[in-house]
Amino acid sequence: MSLLRLAWRSVLRQRRRTALLSLVVVYVTVATLFLLGFLDGYGESLVEAYAEYVEAPVAVAQEAWWADPDPEHGLKSLPTLAHPLVQAVSPRLSVYALLRSPYRLEGGLVLGVDPEGEKGLSRVPAKVAEGRWLRARGEVVLGQRLAERLDVRVGERLVVETGKAALGLEVVGLVRAGVSNVDFFGVYLHLEDAQALTGALATHLAVKVPRGREGAVAQALSRTLPPGLQAKGVWDLMGPIRADYEGSRLLYIPLLGLFMLLAAIAVVSTTYVSVRERLREFAVAESLGLTPWRLAGQVALEAALASGVGLVLGLLLGYALLWYTSTHDVFGPLMRMSVELLPESGLSEHLYTALRPAYALYAAGVVGLSALLALLFPGRLVLALEVPRYLKEG
């Protein structure tokens, strides 16, 4: 009989014990899958918000502009970007300005964009909830919440002042993107209007690249760009909210490791009792020619199989949970509250968990850990077995 079949038979001999043990592993597996899915989903929602709405997948600007984002450090000419992964490029001009409606004043960052170019790069034009996207000069599109604060509606006029120049613009659209920075602070006007306000050509180039390649493309572009220009990927364009994501990973992943260790201890504890009950059985097996190390290996295999049963059930449950939370907006209320509390954060109103096969591999760590601990503790009982003593006891 192979070692595996022998170990499997031993595990099945104590069904109730195995079932109880599996509960611990199921719980830890579900917790592992859910937490990893949540953290990755959070990261993905941030990347999507910043790449598709707030900033761009990659942005190219003068090094001086990155340090001091004022139009005076804007681009003197638009560089050509030679990289096979660049899908679209559009110039932008960001300007600090005062917005005046008939009733209210609000300060903000105004983004001058090429209306057509922006459509191929950002999802903001597609998120106009009322009115339409920019078509020509003299128009402005506002985030819906900003429009509420300014008390302006589509068709009304808004004055944009920079201290050096002012423009009277017609509000043609209100954006409802579900991303805090856009809805609370978004002001989009025609690039030529922004140029008229500042005298600058553009402050930066927004570049669309495939998801997941932002950092690599930014690095590659930085190497080929003319001196004084630098490209940044979406993770470097994020505000302080990135720290929240990174901090959460640093706090919760060690906690998951601890959960796995505790589950493995529970598995080993059960295996220990099981081995002690069967010392005579092991003595007989050894007397029939099985080496102590082979028997210790069987003990480790039993621990791995026992935790493996829990792992399989946990994976089924965990992936079912992740599938549900990745297709249903379960965290919507929590995210909407966060958006209201931290409007500058760039948080999205929706968060869907990620669902990746690799999580199963991480969760399987509990099986490996159980086998290792079983080899170290109950396995030692078998290695130190006094065969004649146990045979005589029978």
Binding site: Y27, D70, R104, G107, A243
Partner: protein, 398 residues
Amino acid sequence: MLRLAWRNLLRTPGRNLATGGVVALVVFLSLVFLSVYAGAFDAFFRLLLERTGHLVVRVESYREKEDLEALTFAPPALPLPPGTQVEGVLEGQALVIAGERSRAAVLTGLEAGGLERQRKLLKAGRLPQASGEALLGEALARALKVGLGDEVVAYAPGGMGLGIFPFRVVGLLDLPETHLEARTLVVGLGDAQALLFPGRVTRLEIRLSGIGLYDQEPLEALKARLKPHLEGLTVETWLEANPLYAALLPLYDTVMALYVGIFFLLGGLILLNALYLSLVERVREFGLLSALGLTGRRVMALVFWESLLLVGVSALVGAGLGLLLHLELLDGFRLPLPQWILEQYREFGLPEVLYGRLGVKEVLLTLGYAVGVALLAALWPGYLASRLEPVEAMRYVP
């Protein structure tokens, strides 16, 4: 029964030490977690209170009003108890211009007391002492390329004031949140009124001494006393003035109970395993006890006592260690995260140094979970033990 339970626990010291260790770890982690979380929560709310004042007086229905004229009022005399500070504040949007550069900012006009409170945020220079002097957020000064002694012009059209006013920068403020720092211009109340609206304020901030952070009762009492003197005005506690933050408070207990519950569920499952193993190891012994006349209920009680003793001792050890660490946290701590992350957390109003807080409620919640887990985990093994047939049990072979 208690002695028997205790003796049984000591018979398998290895396994019970491991299980007890898990329970102690869970209790320890729960207390530390609660202390850290409450500390962070307090820091967040303390900053909010500091900025808002205990009570705020504004014009009635101010959330629906739009223009500065409708939002401002001449401050009335208020019957306030001794030791209470009241400060008028006038706030409005302005474009701050320095040479070729300009940035939109929130212009805040403060009385002497309010200006004095900015001292701890002062990074360079001094507080305004005369008309025409201003404090700038450090990030705003950087964006405008101005420093101490330089002149900036505040442009704020639409009010009943001058609409434009020159200021000399006499101090730079270091605020926790860079996005606020980049929009902060603080001046004397008189100057703000000259610029925006003579003789008026947008709010009165009332600060009381000796009030606990979440102590709302004295605030409600003073609010009731002030109401008859506030014609056309409304008074709110700092939490009412920040309704979104106020909505967080009731969620706090639920979130905490949920977090701690996640730890304890794992601890409970491990305990259940340990109790069950202890039962299967002693089936024959339980059979013998039953044969000697121990009733099913008493056998069940024995399992419950074993569980309660194991969890009780472990919880005490975990709670002792947790409280010891909490005493350290009371003196201030930094989250175990890289410095760059802590600096970024400041942007959300979370200071780098936090102070742990652990109330009776938090300790009781943890110990309540421990007792609950001890009872629940013992339920099934206890039931099985109580149903054992003496003869069958004594013949039991694993």
